[in-house]
């Protein structure tokens, strides 16, 4: 199925039940991702980025109220699978995750080699020795010295632990890796090193990435396309080459203007107000309250409009 795209998410909804009412963390998200491409999902904290990652991997907490939509992986709708089928055929086989604060996601009482080989042993039915061999190969890809394989996580620095977490996501050779804020806790030079590793993996192994982050400047290191998330919805998607120089949605424009730049002498701007609470969402456009170019139509929910090869959810382009 070479002509099928890798990931096709349609109208994905994930609401949580709380005492204050349903939290609409992911509310009708659509996006596509092709083989050997990277999409960056950008948004401020609390906009539902991490929930989107969890919804794609079906790693859900107990208080889920609504979970619906279509997630097609290589043409197959995985939302129709039951939990066991999903675990066996999708999670870590087709899509794996590098969790947020991956440095602390490792089990402190297991050697890192055992942890990295575990997905291969469970999902690919490998013997332990073969699993460790594979782990060694992955260590080479991410730049961890081979003798680290018998070390415990506390013996590794933050950057090395992050690389181990990436190796663990790679070991079953999935076609898609979801990275949730992979470098936010790391130092500047380490961060640049990790992005070099990710670029190399993309080039050598042909892996696709979903990179979830709030750091716009570093996200451009990996992005082929960009999706901007605001209050549970994606408000703009487009190619990185078109998005970074000239975003369309007013929120995306404001967000880009708020990035301090090292090389351009431009005064950064900021967005007045705060994102709405995901419990009490405004009707109509969710950004309208903070939007400088709002007009009468914005009280209605804006449609998704195709413009210049990009998709934007804003009345301005209707």
């Amino acid at each position: 199925m070479a002509d099928e795209i890798l990931l096709d998410v349609k109208n994905l909804v994930l609401h949580f039940a709380t005492t204050r009412g349903p939290v609409q963390a992911v509310d009708g998200v659509d996006f596509q991702l092709d083989y050997n491409k990277a999409v960056v999902i950008l948004g401020e904290s609390g906009c539902g980025k991490t929930s989107l990652a969890k919804a794609i991997l079906r790693l859900l907490p107990r208080n889920v109220k609504t979970y619906s939509g279509e997630v097609k992986v290589a043409g197959k709708d995985v939302m129709l699978l039951n939990e066991e089928e999903f675990r066996q055929n999708v999670r870590w086989v087709a899509i794996s995750l590098v969790p947020q604060a991956a440095m602390n996601a490792l089990n402190p009482v297991l050697r890192v080699g055992d942890q990295v080989s575990e997905p291969a042993i469970i999902h690919l039915g490998m013997k332990k020795e073969d699993g460790l061999q594979l782990a060694l190969k992955m260590f080479q890809h991410v730049g961890v010295p081979a003798d680290f394989i018998t070390r415990y996580p506390f013996e590794l620095s933050g950057g090395m632990r992050q690389r181990v977490a990436i190796a663990m996501a790679l070991v079953t050779s999935p076609s898609l890796i979801v990275l949730d804020e992979p470098t936010s806790a790391l130092d500047l030079l380490t961060q640049a090193n990790i992005f070099n590793v990710l670029k190399r993996i993309k080039k050598e192994l042909g892996t696709s990435f979903i990179l979830i982050t709030h750091d716009i400047a570093t996200s451009s290191e990996l992005a082929d396309s960009v999706a901007i998330m605001y209050a549970g919805q994606i408000v703009e998607t487009g190619e990185a080459g078109k998005f970074f120089p000239a975003p369309l949605h007013p929120y995306a424009q404001k967000l880009m203007a708020s990035v301090p730049r090292l090389r351009a002498n431009k005064d950064p701007d900021f967005i007045i107000g705060q994102p709405p609470s995901l419990v009490n969402l405004p009707t109509g456009c969710r950004f309208a309250e903070r939007c400088p170019s709002r007009f009468e139509k914005c009280v209605q929910d804006p449609p998704v409009i195709k413009k210049d090869g990009r998709l934007v959810k804003c009345w301005l382009y209707a």
Binding site: H214, I216, S220, A223, S258, R261, L262, F270
Partner: protein
């Protein structure tokens, strides 16, 4: 290797400082003892190892470095929370280590501190009014109306409008940006001459970050405050400070005015930091970044000579790993501790 701290401390004489210098840090060393089983000293963590600088009245400086380079230890020593192992911190001509408890109380009213994590820095059981009054009560402002007036004035300065809405709120009821404003207002309320801000925006969202930085810069210029801004993010520095101090493994490796540093970085470490900082640009994805391999050294056993030499692409063999680099003035106001410029 154990250092006889007492005799060394007396050996270093206090350097004369110019009259417009507010804060002078002189050959400052902050070493922490490493003990085995609580006894016998087995080594030192050399968090700050020989730092010298003068901060003028009304000047904003930034200290840039990665985590573990000693920037927080430097700041805490300036705040008087750590005692220097060696060297001096001189504020308005008075030596910090010779101040008594009364002196320190005065000193702390002159120096404000903006913490990194605003929520962690605010007591959760106090409302905003109580948080703001606390420093005034401690410094002996007994008149209730006077306190209320000063709280109101400083909250208006940090743009927490309308003030009455905020006074009765507790920290958890405020957003991150509002919490950070409360922290800034609290640091400002005693009308200090110096503000020390430790990564004041790193916990905030991108869209709020700039707002807080602009607020701080506005307060700094309108009150003619001296400002020490501690950060790891070079891209925010240029909107904020006149001079940049780049710190690596306990030492300051480069001091330069911001434009000179950006156009003409001299220390290989500074260059690496600048290269690693991205601007949003789709072309970034097409190429790899040249970053030095490895990680910053342990501060217990730092490398001999230049501390950056194991990672440095421009190492001069036989020199860099042997001799400590000296401070070299390469351009006016631009000082680099690197043998390349000798």
């Amino acid at each position: 290797m154990a250092l006889d701290t007492k005799s060394k401390k007396q050996a270093i004489a206090v350097r004369e400082v110019a009259t417009n210098v507010l804060l002078s840090v002189q050959s400052l060393r902050v070493w922490f003892e490493l003990r085995r089983f609580g006894f016998g000293i087995v080594g030192h963590v050399r968090a700050v190892d020989g730092v010298n600088f003068d901060l003028h009245q009304g000047e904003a400086i930034a200290v840039v470095g990665e985590s573990g380079c000693g920037k927080t230890s430097l700041m805490k020593t300036i705040l008087g929370l750590y005692k220097p192992t060696e060297g001096h911190v001189i504020f308005e001509g008075k030596n910090l280590s010779e101040m008594g408890s009364r002196g320190l109380q005065w000193y702390r009213s002159q120096v404000g501190y903006v913490q990194q994590d605003p929520f962690g820095a605010l007591p959760p059981f106090m409302n905003v009014q109580r948080i703001m009054e606390e420093p005034l009560i401690i410094s002996g402002v007994k008149n209730r109306q006077e306190r209320a007036r000063r709280v109101r004035k400083v909250m208006e300065e940090v743009k927490l409008f309308p003030v009455d809405d905020y006074l009765s709120k507790f920290p958890h009821m405020l957003s991150g940006g509002q919490q950070q404003r409360v922290v800034i207002a609290r640091a400002m309320i005693l009308e200090p001459k110096l503000i020390v801000a430790d990564e004041p925006v790193s916990m905030l969202d991108a869209s709020v970050r700039v707002e807080i930085l602009k607020l701080l810069r506005g307060l700094q210029t309108s009150h003619n405050l001296s400002f020490i801004y501690i950060t790891h993010d070079l891209s925010t520095v240029r909107y904020f400070s006149e001079r940049i101090f780049v710190m690596y493994a306990g030492k300051i490796v480069e001091i330069a005015p911001i434009d000179s540093l950006l156009k003409n970085p001299q220390h290989p470490y500074t260059l690496a930091l600048l290269t690693a900082t991205s601007d949003p640009d789709a072309n970034n994805a097409k190429s790899f970044k040249e970053v030095p391999p490895g990680e910053p050294p342990s501060l217990v056993n730092p490398p001999t000579g230049c501390r950056f030499h194991p990672r440095c692409p421009k190492i001069i063999k036989g020199k860099c790993e042997v001799e400590d680099p000296v401070d070299i003035v390469t351009e006016p106001d631009h000082v680099t501790a690197c043998w390349l410029y000798q």
